[in-house]
């Protein structure tokens, strides 16, 4: 019973097992063949990619080369055509030809720029010291947009601190304001150093803004 259960002690069984082992594990040649078979798709894909890249590079380089050579060829062709055909062509109208060297007339340009600057002349007219009996009374602003002006103007008066005190209506050329109420009445009696900004427009649209000038004035509120 014990003999039957413990086979490892039987030398015959050991011999039989050792004969069976080589058959279960692959031999060296067999292992190589198995590995080769598993890498084959990978190598195939790799060689395909390498081949594709080489082909793409060749196409790109070839295209560039052809483009350059065709450009050179075109330029050379044009040059060759001109050099080999030095005939004087007919020109119907030669009025554009002038005597003397090519030069610009600086005096004309100077006059043109001076004229443009003069056309854009804007005016700034206001009393240097408007007086208001109180913040609810009319004050003597004496604002004017003279008839010589080509532009509309609007006056915005601000204090040193930037607080808005007065905004005029838009004045067309040849219009003026002798006296007016402060548009912001929130000011105590006193003397205020202010900036009167004259904003100029070529039309009654804000988008036509040209520029600004400024007058320093003193506003007195009693």
């Amino acid at each position: 019973m014990n003999e039957l259960q413990d086979d490892s002690l039987d030398p015959r069984i050991e011999q039989e097992e050792s004969d069976l082992k080589p058959r279960m594990e692959p031999k060296k040649e067999e292992r190589y063949l198995l590995g080769h078979r598993s890498r084959k798709p990978f190598l195939f894909l790799l060689s395909f990619l390498v081949g594709f890249m080489v082909l793409a590079t060749a196409i790109f380089v070839g295209d560039r080369f052809m483009a350059n050579s065709s450009k050179d060829t075109t330029a050379q062709d044009v040059a060759a055509t001109e050099v080999n055909n030095p005939e004087i062509r007919d020109y119907a109208d030669s009025e554009s030809v002038q005597e003397g060297e090519l030069m610009t007339d600086d005096n004309d340009e100077q006059e043109r720029l001076n004229a443009l600057a003069e056309e854009s002349r804007v005016y700034c007219i206001i009393s240097s010291a408007p007086y208001f009996a109180d913040s609810n009374s009319k004050g003597s602003l004496s604002i004017s947009n003279p008839k010589e002006s080509n532009y509309y103007s609007q006056v915005v008066i601000k204090t040193d601190e930037g607080k808005e005190m007065y905004v005029s209506p838009l004045l067309a050329p040849d219009e003026s304001i002798e006296s007016d109420y402060l548009t912001n009445k929130d000011f105590e009696p006193g003397s205020y150093h202010c900036y009167a900004y004259f904003n100029y427009y070529s039309s009654e649209e804000s988008s036509s803004y040209l520029g600004s000038m400024c007058a320093e004035i003193n506003i007195m509120i009693d």
């Binding site: 001076n114 600057a117 700034c124 240097s128 900036y195 520029g211 400024c214 320093e216």
Partner: protein, 193 residues
């Protein structure tokens, strides 16, 4: 004799009384003067356009218009420039917007296209002449003033007179296309001290 002396004394006293009465009447007369505030009345160009011709002789390449400031007031006025990035600066609408620099920052005649089209040193300069008082003779460059808000005084004008300023500029000479550039200036005026 005594009677004659009494008459003379009476006449003297009588004359003194009447003359003093007359003087008292003159002393109550008052003089009332009224002075109106002076108007500030000035004019200047709103649009200043300059041109650069890189193909011309050096002295003729940059052309600035004459900027004439007119004082129509009867009193002298100060001419100032409002400074800061919003006042003497490129217009928002300017088609060409080079970077404002100072003249000494570049060797202008050596600039290629890229730098010529990227940098400009523009300034404003008084022209000697009919100024009542000239405060600033050196050019004032855009870059020099655009970080300081306030005002810079150029000079004073007499009543009913005018004076000139011009633009000065340093620039490159290589441009691949036509360029147009607009700057805005805010002038400021006040009565002279």
């Amino acid at each position: 004799m005594l009677k004659r002396k009494s008459i003379i004394l009476f006449i003297v006293i009588f004359s003194c009384f009447f003359s003093s009465t007359a003087m008292a009447a003159v002393s109550v007369t008052t003089i009332n003067g009224s002075v109106s505030p002076t108007y500030i009345n000035v004019s200047a160009p709103a649009k200043i356009i300059f041109s650069i011709n890189p193909n011309a002789e050096k002295t003729d390449q940059f052309i600035s218009p004459q900027i004439v400031i007119e004082n129509h007031s009867n009193a002298p006025v100060k001419v100032k420039l409002e400074t800061g990035a919003e006042n003497f600066a490129q217009s928002v609408e300017s088609k060409w917007k080079p970077t404002d620099v100072l003249p000494k920052e570049y060797q202008w005649d050596m600039l290629g296209t890229e730098d010529s089209e990227s940098y400009l040193a523009l300034g404003l300069k008084t022209v000697l002449g009919s100024w009542r008082k000239l405060i600033r003779e050196d050019p004032l460059y855009v870059k020099e003033q655009n970080k300081s808000a306030g005002s810079i005084e150029f000079g004073e004008l007499n009543g009913n007179s005018s004076a000139q300023l011009v633009l000065v500029c340093d620039y490159g000479l290589s441009f691949s296309e036509k360029k147009e550039c607009d700057y805005k200036i805010v002038w400021s005026f006040s009565l002279a001290d």
